[in-house]
């Protein structure tokens, strides 16, 4: 069964450093997403991406964040200058809107980002 994959599974970085989190969405999916979950809190939407551009972003997704689909398979989230409060589990998801009209999104296993 096709699945969303994410690398690395765990990333440790120092405050102020840039990190890139990588995702390979399900191959025939058209919409791509990033969510994050700070320990003990809700899963929160960050950004959605369709047709090579951001379609929606949350207040969390400020100028320090960017997304890119550099080729036909990868989808990346970049944090330019990490802060302690960026420490969280980051989930990539993908979907095929309209298929079954159920809006289901399929999530990867996540990348645990630890900023020290």
């Amino acid at each position: 069964e096709p699945e969303v994959t994410q690398t690395p599974s765990h990333q440790v970085t120092q405050m102020g450093q840039e990190v890139i989190l990588r995702c390979v969405p399900i191959s025939n999916h058209l919409y791509f997403y990033w969510y994050r979950q700070i320990l003990g809190q809700k899963v929160e939407f960050l950004v959605s991406f369709y047709n090579n551009e951001i379609s929606e972003k949350s207040e969390i997704f400020d100028d320090q964040f960017s997304v890119e689909r550099p080729d036909g398979s990868n989808f990346t989230l970049k944090i330019r200058s990490t802060k302690l409060e960026d420490s969280a589990m980051y989930f990539c998801a993908s979907s095929v809107p309209g298929q079954g009209s159920s809006y289901e999104q399929y999530f990867g296993p996540g990348t645990r980002l630890t900023v020290t």
């Binding site: 809700k42 959605s48 379609s55 289901e104 999530f107 990867g108 296993p109 996540g110």
Partner: protein, 112 residues
Amino acid sequence: DQQVKQNSPSLSVQEGRISILNCDYTNSMFDYFLWYKKYPAEGPTFLISISSIKDKNEDGRFTVFLNKSAKHLSLHIVPSQPGDSAVYFCAAILASTDKLIFGTGTRLQVFP
């Protein structure tokens, strides 16, 4: 942002019995509701969804009920199995947006 709430942080059920997980929401404009299951160190896994124009959807052991007047939905698992032990998230979405809005989750433990 408290648009989707799961007021029970945990639930313990005996194997073979029914598990009922509850979710409340405040935005009457939500178009779809979804349930996800999450094991430790894994991403959320889609379980079942329901359109706002329906009041019930069933898939095997899983049934979701929607009560729009009460802004409440529930997930029933019958019969519960030890492998169902996980955190269950309720989520909602507006068709005009891309984002799922999640509840805080309920940890279900099914014991033998």
